[in-house]
């Protein structure tokens, strides 16, 4: 059963929301029922893939054990860094193995949703080490990791925010508002994913430029890049809306994942609007940690160098997370270099500082940004690879 795709999922979701709505409307906490419903949904998700279920359970046990150990270390004031680092490594190993295995078409410790549950488990470990999470009950931890709505593809929630939502009770009016918001998001997301994404994807017909490499072929290639970019948006934003909508029905308001990304006027703004929860997760737990480490140890001469290296490292890692293929790595590197170049340009260019608020400058920035973003999608989809291969081989 695929979440938000299989008809059986939708029937079960409607059935599962009824008890949640009764609890919500009668001012009771939904979280205990929410965990039971989540476990049932996950069992159905893994019912066709027993090896995936096994790997998932192995991950869950490992993550829970290392989190409990690190929590105990920090609450007792022992705070041995090697214990924390070992814990991080244990949680990361299955995801790293699954990415390497995918290169060789092998499933090594991988299961559906492994990325998102790993991001969440790492956030908890890092924030225990930072002293931000002082207490997290086994129930809260399990519910945070297992909540079914965003399980397969996010959005990536944060444990403190999630736990606060899960502990809430609602007045009749509050829950009515949340439920109706959830239903609207579920329906809107379904339209995005099943109708708009499909229609736009039909226009994506990538091919090499051919021997008659002219304006017509270039226009066709640009059309394909735009079609793929729009398809990706409607598919993923649609999925995200449905996941947030389902969450609302269970009293959990998962953060938004997309905010009109194609209106961005520079690439930094784009990453504040596109796949926001991944972008912010990487910002908080990779970019900011890396730059803090680099600044404290004075690894680089200037703050500009720290920022540029940080951007390239952060985004290349993002590309590698998508998959260890040339296309994904090039996509990550492209965005890392773009962010670094944008940072240098915006900080050093007098022209930018003089005109950045002028209407014509913002329109020009929007056009440039949109086309750079679409070129990035041509790298991501493999279209650029196909065209480059065609040019090199003369077809």
């Amino acid at each position: 059963m695929d979440f938000y795709v299989s008809p059986s999922f939708w029937f079960l979701l409607i059935a599962a929301v009824v008890p949640a709505a009764i609890l919500g409307f009668t001012g009771r906490r939904i979280r205990y029922y929410g965990l039971v419903a989540s476990v049932a949904f996950l069992l159905l998700l893994f019912s066709v893939n027993m090896i995936g279920l096994l790997y998932f359970l192995v991950f869950l046990v490992l993550a829970a054990v290392v989190t409990a150990v690190v929590m105990r270390e920090w609450s007792r004031g022992q705070q041995r860094l090697w214990v924390y680092r070992l814990g991080l490594a244990v949680v990361l190993v299955p995801l790293a193995c699954s990415k390497v295995g995918a290169v060789f078409d092998e499933n090594i410790l991988g299961f559906i949703g492994i990325s998102y549950i790993t991001f969440k488990a790492i956030q908890v470990l890092i924030e225990i080490r930072d002293g931000i999470i002082g207490r997290l009950t086994p129930f809260d931890y399990l519910y945070f990791l297992l909540f079914f709505a965003p399980f397969t593809s996010g959005p990536i929630d944060r444990s403190r925010r999630f736990t606060d939502d899960a502990a809430r009770t609602f007045s009749r009016d509050e829950y009515a508002g949340l439920l109706s918001k959830g239903i609207v998001m579920l329906l809107t997301g379904a339209v995005y994913k099943t109708i708009l994404a499909s229609v736009v994807f039909a226009a994506y017909t990538p091919e090499t430029l051919g021997l008659g490499f002219g304006a017509r072929e270039v226009v066709a290639a640009v059309k394909d890049a735009y079609a793929y970019g729009l398809y990706l948006f409607f598919d993923f934003a649609g999925y995200s809306l449905m996941a947030i909508g389902a969450g609302c029905c269970f009293g959990i308001v998962t953060p938004a994942n997309f905010k009109a990304p194609f209106l961005s006027c520079d690439i930094k703004e784009f990453w504040n609007r596109w796949h926001i929860t991944l972008s912010f997760w990487l910002r908080d737990f990779v970019f900011m940690r890396f730059t803090r480490f680099a600044i404290k140890r004075k690894l680089f001469g200037s703050r500009q160098t720290v920022a540029c290296v940080g951007y390239v490292f952060n985004m290349t890692l993002m590309g590698a997370w998508h998959g260890l293929t040339l296309d994904y790595l090039a996509y990550g590197l492209f965005h890392g270099l773009l962010l670094a170049a944008t940072d240098i340009y915006q900080k050093r260019s007098g022209f930018h500082k003089r005109y950045k608020n002028a209407a014509w400058y913002r329109v020009a920035s929007w056009v440039v940004t949109l086309n750079l973003v679409m070129f990035g999608f041509a790298l991501f989809s493999g279209q650029a690879h196909l065209i480059t291969g065609g040019l090199l081989h003369g077809y």
Partner: protein, 83 residues
Amino acid sequence: MDTDTQLRQDIIALIAEVTCEDDISEERDLDLFESGLLDSLAAIELLVGIEERFGVDIAPTAVEREEMNTVNRIIAQIEQRYL
């Protein structure tokens, strides 16, 4: 001049240094992220500066951006933790 005033002056000097904006003390409720004076890197420089100068360790995700986006809010966050 009492300690509190001196601390506030030192914090404002640090923010001015990180944002490269000398007149920062005149607009203490200005949103530093919205106005482009702070970004992710400058925020980290600020946190490292706060740790080195005042001995106050604030982890990158300890405080929401909306709770530390103006001069007054940064002062409040440091004063809460300053011993």
